[in-house]
Symmetry: C2
């Protein structure tokens, strides 16, 4: 993964840098901190495709007011167990955090809840929101649509977004379960990153614009991602677009604004937050004990050929986080250049000027 | 698919036969009709793995009182948006239908709902329940765990069931979307059916007891199914077991009773029904028009290489149903033998004695 030009950055310094930059394009400090936290947490967890590599495009869209730095988020419809919110084109992180908090309040009241959002934008890593439920003893669910990059099974034209899905489940002594996945074989951000690094991508991730499978990341960017798991993953991607996009009245399919290519319109991404208050179904300790037992049993199963260990959803990310909190966050030259350019453009202290462990 | 010994059966005759048999083992007529309807509908839809091939084991378990023919279903916990029910080891179809009706009533009240069930049993095809929401202008969601046949990603021992997932979405003029899928590459029932027919299975469906991939259905029955979509599908399977099994207090993982091999204990399957009242989020006609538009757009996408058509979830099943309603339901010799034996054992009219189109 590392090459000669990769450098390691202190997480809190990186977070401060991102927050300072976002405040320069008119984000309130609290919201700037939140977005910086979301990006740096993704890097810490090893999900570099959703980390600070997104800063340049976030700043550009905020500058152009395609993302609204001071959204007035409104609740359009509401019951004791659901709500529909209009995100007023605010930063996805800001809108989705509000929605997940509302979902958890409603789950506290009614046991289960769904809160949908229209007129939202890219919100970083999906797990950031589902994980908010963990210390409330709730199961958190987050779905989102995104701009079209994935060919529905059987076709060769991008129609679905990578439409991610995250579910976070609290546990007792064991690590929490945090499923966080694109419904494409691979995240679009990974293709972008591979293209930036000039690296190839594995066969089966994508097709080119002629519909041929390709390992060339640049050609894949002109073609389409493939859905994970063939027709089944394609079906799940469609359902996520129905729940996050069509049900909320957000854009859907190819109408969701491309984060990078459409610099004239807001994205109108749709997102859906769900929460389940475990205690309404059964005793929370009983549930957590069973979760722990299940996790231990799965971890101790004999491995398949060629596998060193059975990993549970979220486990690798927590290991990454523990390592990177010590070693720092590795960034490739393109991301370093982006951040350096933004720093000089906005007159914000760059890494070299930052005190160590700030 | 057809061979010399496959015969075609009239759906309503087959349904009457199943209902009569189920009443002989003490099921109330209404419940017997429901189960017969669920099995024959699966056959009509081309899902033969969940059709009348299950009659022999259903009858055996009812006879042994491992399935309770007259369950007293109780609601253990309840809010305006959720409930937890105890199925008293009743037939899965009977318990799940009640739970989905309750889920829809709660969604009518609160907009969204989840109703979990413990102490349930095999309920046939999952779509049977999610589809109940279609004519109520609701999105129906059905999840279930099942006895261990699937190796978690990275291991070679069955721990998860095929843990199916179904979501049904109403549309306007276009066919409804009905996703119905096992979270294994293939349904266990398909392996059983292939083994019965002496057919091989595709590579990638299963591993044998040594952890080697196999195309031998009989060896696969001794080994494990693989989760669909690698680690992502494995993660979704785990989440389904959390929601249907651990959250409801049903059995989970390898503790769910094997439908065929454990003839000493009730299964204690866990199931979860969800409903979303679309009208609480946005106008139902507006939603249905958008669904229709999306479906037409996807159907008209250029096909991938080697594909004749882009199919949407549930489309192939509806085509099967239209064809089989005319042509009849093809059954292989093993299933015909089973039904014939049951008929003579319980003194119920067999096919040859049934009037045509009865």
């Amino acid at each position: 993964m590392s090459d000669q030009s990769t450098k390691f950055f202190n997480p809190s310094g990186l977070k401060r840098l991102c927050s300072d930059l976002l405040q320069k394009v008119k984000l309130p400090p609290k919201d700037a901190e939140l977005i910086a936290e979301s990006l740096v947490q993704a890097n810490l967890r090893g999900v570099d495709s959703h980390g600070v590599a997104r800063m340049a495009i976030y700043i550009e869209r905020l500058n152009k007011r395609l993302t609204n730095p001071k959204p007035r988020i409104t609740i359009l419809r509401e019951t004791s167990a659901m709500a529909l919110a209009d995100g007023d084109n605010g930063s996805g992180q800001v809108v989705a955090k509000m929605a997940m908090e509302l979902a958890m309040a409603k789950a506290k009241e009614s046991g289960v809840s769904l809160v949908g959002i229209r007129n939202s934008t890219h919100f970083g890593a999906t797990a950031f929101f589902s994980m908010m439920a963990l210390d409330k003893d709730m199961i958190g669910i987050t779905l989102a649509n995104s701009y079209a990059t994935v060919a529905p099974w059987g076709s060769r034209i991008p129609y679905f977004g990578t439409n991610p899905l995250s579910v976070a489940v609290p546990t007792g002594r064991e690590l929490p379960i945090v499923l966080d996945m694109a419904t494409s074989v691979a995240a679009w951000g990974k293709i972008i990153l591979a293209a930036q690094k000039g690296e190839s991508i594995p066969l089966g991730w994508a097709i080119d614009s002629d519909g041929d499978v390709t390992t060339d990341a640049a050609r894949a960017l002109q073609g389409a991602l493939l859905p994970f798991g063939g027709p089944k993953g394609s079906g799940i991607s469609l359902i996520i677009d129905v729940l996050a996009g069509l049900l909320t009245g957000a854009n859907y399919g190819p109408y969701v604004g491309d984060l990078y290519k459409d610099l004239a319109n807001p994205q109108n991404v749709g997102q859906m937050m769900g929460a389940i208050d475990i205690g309404r179904f059964r005793g929370i300790n009983e549930f957590k004990n069973r979760m722990d037992a299940m996790i231990r049993e799965i971890k101790s199963l004999p491995t398949a050929k060629g596998m060193s260990e059975v990993f549970l959803p979220g486990e690798i990310e927590i290991r990454n986080q523990r390592r990177r909190e010590k070693e720092g966050i590795p960034l490739p030259p393109t991301t370093i250049n982006d951040l350096q350019n933004l720093s000089s453009e906005y007159g914000v202290l760059w890494w070299d000027d930052l005190p160590p462990n700030s």
